[in-house]
Amino acid sequence: MILYTPLSETDIFPTSEDTYNKRCCVTHNGKMLYVEETSSGSYELLQLLSTDPHDFMDATFNPGTTFKG
């Protein structure tokens, strides 16, 4: 199928509500984390929300780290 349109792909094929609901902001060890729930029930770290550059040096907050729910 070829679409010829100025609209973006997501305007034509909207993302399901579930993908939004799986993502949330949590606080873990005093740090704000943006996480996504995985199919196994644990949480995968998407983004560490901090302005302190040293927080990003902490290997426990690397993006992709999984936390038990």
Binding site: T19, T51, D52, H54, G64
Partner: protein, 249 residues
Amino acid sequence: MDENKGLQNKDEREEKEEENQPKSSSLVEKIQQLGQTNVPQAPDSNIHVLSIIGQIEGHVQLPPQNKTTKYEHVLPQLIAIEQNPKIEGLVIILNTVGGDVEAGLALSEMIASISKPTVSIVLGGGHSIGVPIAVASDYSFIVPTATMTIHPIRLTGLVIGVPQTFEYLDKMQERVIQFVVSHSNIKEEKFKELMFAKGNLTRDIGTNVVGEDAVEYGLIDEVGGVKNAMKKVNQFIDENQTGQKGVIQ
């Protein structure tokens, strides 16, 4: 006998391998996550870093495949920076394609009204609403390869009340222009000329300004990277401290 000994050795080897496994598997996990194994530790930093990456997300939640900076996350961080006496300076790292105008203007106003020294670096791109955010800081840098797209604001989706919406958008654009003009050295005529230029962008009117040109137009203060930005923010911090001492005396 020999056979038994051989088996025993094999068992021992297996045990050793098992012992090593958890360590190596966690290492593999780390490499899979970010391609890095460990990072050096350093003392507390008096300069905080705010990275504004991807799209500026405002009132509408963007699909998950978009990388976004959500203003509801950034605004409290800026307040925390303002309140924390240990934080003496702020470096803003920009690599954004633009996004929600009101969210971007909110961030810009927040950055502009912070009492602590702020320095911004445009890396890669600081497009659309990234322009007011970049100029909101006390001093702005752009790396030579970075670009900034200046174009009129746009609206997608359903419009109810076309004349009113048009007027509203016109005013909103004026707010963006006024903010950029009052926080940088660019002249209003020049900024508007860049914004409404034809033939530069494939699907839009506007201009894509590259690093050195942005400095030439007065939009950005200087061409430079991390080194220059850190030097500048430290210089501002020193000036602040000597100024405060002067007041006490």
